[in-house]
Subunit: 195 residues, 2 copies
């Protein structure tokens, strides 16, 4: 844990969160459920081959458009040479693993904080198995996506192993990205018509 | 299209891909299907609160460990203030949209190239709707993940609207990240045991 994080913990924070802020947020949403409706967004521009770039800035949430970001986050997708690219960035499946790792981690430390569990350290190793026969359309029996994703988590916290296992079971069901992967979520591709 | 991309196209490339390389890759996998088995990976370290960081470098594919990346890609997840963070990076759901945008884009231009369709430009706008009552465990009837994801695509190519619509229908079924979101994919969280 960094010096800054320790100082924060000494300020009454738990896992880097202000417990009063957690309670205030939960109470606000409980009292006015429509505030919990969020819409996240990304804008992406193709560059060439397997290279493309997203800009991420605005979103809707808590009943309003967020304006907290002065400039967009910019991330580049690429492909390795074996997949006809030049390693311009991680590839989309690897970014999916990054999203899943982050979501499971944040869900874990936030719900741990809500339970009064102090997490000392947490790291994960993810692997996603995929058979490209599906992507290439070479075998109609092979799905295009991941066959399975495994998350190995090294977590140290001031609670029992049983409490950790119960927490992680809860996290599996409540992490938004984990749930989006585990559950069938409809994706619609609409082509914009130019006049 | 950039000057570099135009020069590449004049070198016989289509959508930034070498058609002979596409054919060679497809033929290699068709003749030896186990080569199509890939395992992508990410390693993530929690920092504090909603901030955590992934390193992405190695993967398994084409029957071997890839060594093309001299150093890892590093990406940081964060949360906006309204979600108790400090905008340390995009949040995990936004990274999921970036992964989806990139995968649908690359799948489109690669399969277009395989069909001899030249794509002049392609950009997308994504929105993912999510109700945080599920994430927070405040309503058991609300799923934790995205309710739906919409991709609006502005694509210009040298083919008919009917060919574009047919291409995008194929892409919806063959983009690995799109398929991973649309289809239920098992995610396993294993806790590492320290001695």
């Amino acid at each position: 844990m960094s010096v800054q994080a320790i100082q924060k913990e000494e300020d009454g924070r738990i896992n880097g969160f202000d417990p009063q802020a957690i309670t205030a947020t939960v109470d606000a949403l409980r009292n006015d459920p429509p505030l919990a409706r969020f819409a996240f967004r990304a804008r992406n521009q193709w560059i060439s081959g397997g290279e493309n770039r997203s800009m991420i800035q605005d979103f809707f949430g808590c009943g309003t458009e967020d304006t907290s970001r002065a400039k967009p986050f910019v991330y580049t997708n690429g492909e390795p040479p074996v997949l006809l690219g030049n390693n311009e960035g991680a590839n989309p499946v690897e970014y999916l693993l990054h999203a899943l790792a982050g979501c499971v981690t944040t869900t874990t430390v936030l719900h741990a904080a809500a339970r009064g569990i102090h997490v000392r350290s947490l790291r994960t190793e993810l692997a996603g198995d995929i058979n490209l026969m599906g992507f290439l359309g070479l075998d109609p029996d092979v799905p295009a996506g991941c066959e399975a994703i495994t998350i190995r988590m090294d977590i140290q916290a001031d609670c029992s192993d049983e409490e950790l296992d119960e927490l992680l079971k809860f996290v599996h069901g409540h992490s938004p990205v984990c749930n989006t992967v585990c559950r069938p979520v409809p994706v619609v591709i609409e082509r914009m018509q130019r006049r």
